[in-house]
């Protein structure tokens, strides 16, 4: 459990970070809650870890009809953001509260979690239902990618080697919306065996995303969630079969929609 030898550099600003990341096999590190464990297992052997934790992309603010979450915001910091007090955005702190333990939430960042692209991670499901988009920056410039197009598969994203997430933009839900996140966790890892996020609009329509059951979190197409799950390509293992995960998913989807609908009534 000793990582392979590596170097450490602290980036002073974005340009510096991108410059340091030019080195082959460089890895950006913020909270280190995903990277350090895989380095200890020597699954990751970066030549240099580039510490981006001091960059400015931290905190939540409202600009126009969007909320902007800095990717360096820790899970813990997501718990008491005034804007997330709205029932329409309740899924964000509800989800963050269930991630890891207190130590992890104090260090781990929302951007790091997204970049790691764990197929069972919780927050991507919430961001999918909220229709969030990521701003990515590299020496070649800037691009915006919807969360739905960002995670490609297990631990694989569209993020390029010399590219960093610099913003997470969440469209402000319509008044009278409600959101919720419900999951059943693996008792050891705490990752979702099946997790569901729902956003219910003022018209009662629900947008639902699930995580933990497939190669990546995904939005359920259409209004008939049960049928959408029946046709999904669901993953299974010795702890939880595909059949069981599919059933769990339908349970958490229903519960998330019910809870989000309740919340929609309280939202203004």
């Amino acid at each position: 459990m000793i990582p392979a030898a590596t170097r450490y550099e602290r980036a002073s600003d974005l340009d510096h970070a991108l410059e340091l990341l030019a080195e082959p096999d460089a890895k950006a590190i913020a909270g280190g809650q995903s990277l350090i464990p895989v380095m200890k297992l020597r699954i990751a052997r970066p030549s240099v870890v580039v510490d981006i934790s001091r960059l400015e992309f931290r905190g939540v603010d409202v600009r126009g009809d969007e909320l902007h979450i800095g990717p360096l915001t820790t899970w813990d910091e997501l718990l008491d953001v005034p804007e997330f007090g709205r029932p329409a955005l309740a899924a964000i702190p509800e989800c963050a509260r269930g991630i890891g333990d207190l130590q992890l939430r104090n260090m781990g960042t929302i951007g790091g979690g997204l970049a790691h692209a764990d197929p069972a991670s919780d927050m991507p499901a919430v961001l999918l239902t909220l229709g969030a988009a990521l701003e990515l920056r590299s020496p070649d410039g800037e691009r915006t990618v919807p969360v739905a197009d960002f995670i490609l598969g297990p631990f694989t994203s569209t993020l390029a080697d010399r590219e960093l997430i610099t913003d997470i933009a969440v469209p402000t839900p319509l008044p009278g919306s409600g959101s919720a996140y419900v999951s059943v966790e693996h008792p050891a890892s705490g990752f979702a065996l099946a997790g569901a996020a729902a956003l219910v609009g003022p018209d009662g329509g629900a947008r639902v995303a699930v995580t933990g059951i497939a190669g990546r979190p995904f939005l359920l197409a259409g209004d008939d969630h049960r049928t959408a799950l029946e046709t999904a390509d669901v993953f299974g293992d010795r702890f939880a079969s595909a059949e069981y995960r599919r059933e769990l998913a339908s349970v958490v989807v229903r519960r998330a929609v019910e809870r989000a609908s309740q919340r929609a009534k309280e939202d203004s």
Partner: protein
Amino acid sequence: MSEPYIGVSRPRVDAPDKVTGATRYAADGYVHGLLHARLVLSTEAHARIRAVHREDALAMPGVVAVLVAADLPLATTGTDRTAEPLAREEVVFAGQPVAMVIGETQAAAEDASELVFVELDSLQPVVDLEEAMRPGAALARLVEEAEGGGDLESIHAGVDHGRADADQEQLSGNVLDRVHRTNGDAAAAIDASDSVVSGTFRTPWVYQAYIEPQVSTAWLEPSGTLVVSTSTQGSFVTRSELARAFGLSLDRIRVVAEPLGGAFGGKFALVEPLAAGAALALRRPVRLVLTRREDFQATNPASAQVTHLRVGARKDGTFTGIEARMLVDRGSNAGWGVEGITSSLVAGPYRWQAHDVVGYGIQTNRFTFGAYRAPGAPTAAFALESLLDELAQALGLDPIELRLKNAVVEGDMGIGGNPFPTIGAVEVLEQVRDHPLWAARSTLPDDEGIGVAAGYWPGGNEPAAAVCRVDTDGTMTVVTSAVDMSGVDSGFVVIAAAAFGLSPDKVRVVHADTATGPYAGASGGSKVTYTVGRAVEGAARAARVKVLAAASQELEIAPDDLEVVDGVVRAVGAPGRSITVEELAKKTLRFGGRYEPIEGHGGSAQTVGAPSVAAHLSHVRVDRETGEVELLRHVVAQDVGRALNPALVEGQMRGGAVQGIGWALFEQLDHDEDGHLLTGSFLDYAVPVAERVPEIDTLIVEVPAPDGPFGAKGIGEAPVVAAAPAIANAVAAATGARLHELPMTPARVWRALRS
């Protein structure tokens, strides 16, 4: 006789150092010139070693050596983990140590260990326990064992081993042991019963999950003595195992048991032969600290087990016969298995008219079996106590009344053929019967249930000795070689204080090593307080004789007319005529002193065990849609003999219950069909973390052990035994679904609710 200090809750004596980080554990000690070992583990479950290529590793900076079995100065050819710390020609489980890289730093050793290439010729892995015992099954080990293993079984429990009878059964060579116990015609007794229940129960390999991974440091003194500073449950057994491994005389080995960071049965001479072998081969100090991953893969967890069980009862609830067929997975452990213990404990603390019980110890290519808190008992209790619940239901009887009707009392015959000594089975069952939670079971919301179960641990015996010494400041030092695994030091303090007549604040415990200490066996089998505690009591009383003799001279009063109260020797009935222990000690420990030092040596050799019974109530809520089981409340009532320090006793009861909750709901070491470990980290292997453990009520029941110190007995193992069946019975009460396999994961509960 008055017994001051006994039965008062007080903080653990080791707590201040542990919570402030002052305790120095086995990995902490500074050793000049220390080298670090890193293991290379087998990647296959069963294979022949063709070659170990070490050139690339040796070329790395900071690498001192890459050792294989032939490099260790082993004096024996056995195939147990002491005799074969590194695999010689055949690997028999994935994770078995094959080579050891020795570096100037841990990092250098770890870097180089990746470059050691072990060339293996695959052999058929034997991973299915039931398949393994069938005649003609592939063998899990092809190389014959040349000689027997060590004597580790006797450490754990004072049960007889049944008889290796002559009745013939066709079995494969993987069946290393068959223990058969019969009395009367069990089949006929069951068939003639008013109600009969049966089932097959499965339990997985379970990891001890101690906080401190296995660690050992070894070096040679200039005189040539091998010193091993280590995290172990027993210093003397480690010394004898090392003597066997390396052909050394006992006086050439000194084992120092350092403060233990948890063990639960798993730390018995497993890593010491590796560190010692490297130190002997290189003649330099070597430390081996297992990583958590290595500790998962390469150590000795509790056996998987399959139990086929059938029991019967008459209409009035009287138990008739019990039939059991118990398959115990030993993995690669040819030395011993729990088939003897589990097939004795499957009868529970109950009377049976007839029994026919057989246990099989079967080798497979999974791990090396080792002990884990009450080895063989939770698996047996899960089967029996689940069936007793079904029996109660079938007969329309209250589950506790059914158990009470059949609970053993002193003198009842156990299925091992020995009568039960003093035992509190009835008393603990009455305690849980009278608990408000049991009364609440008829008024529960939907999907909630309350279950009950009971189990016992027979308790072990082993002769032990101890020394008590009073210093010139009037304080007492208890010298012991017993390892404090569960808080026994704090028990010794009050035993010595009460037996001598000194405040516990003035008593401390120090740990001696195999070169300096009085004898104490390994900490295991729930025997330390019972046996070593008895020796401490004797040592304190012997020291008291010395202090009375000195005081008698000083006060000119006959010893029989004196008493020792709180560090003062005084005349009975005339407390004004007195002298302090401190003053007397000052008069003895000096040049020209007149009295013998105030020291005592005590010994014990009990021949009758002190079984402890624990009964559990568990209250659960089951999510029928997801299969998740939530524990709402848990109650454990245990016969502890005498609670020397109730706070510690309650801690043991809670700790046992929590590990039982682990058996019930969370813990399983799982392999794929090729024998590769799938759950080799705490990301995959679940333990009952604090947020998943409910409030646990502890009910201390005191039925004094006749031969224990102040009536105390060993209490560490009993509380783990029946926690899982209590939870299983609660799940059944909540849902009607009965689980026959542990742990009761959400997926399994979900499946059971659908069948």
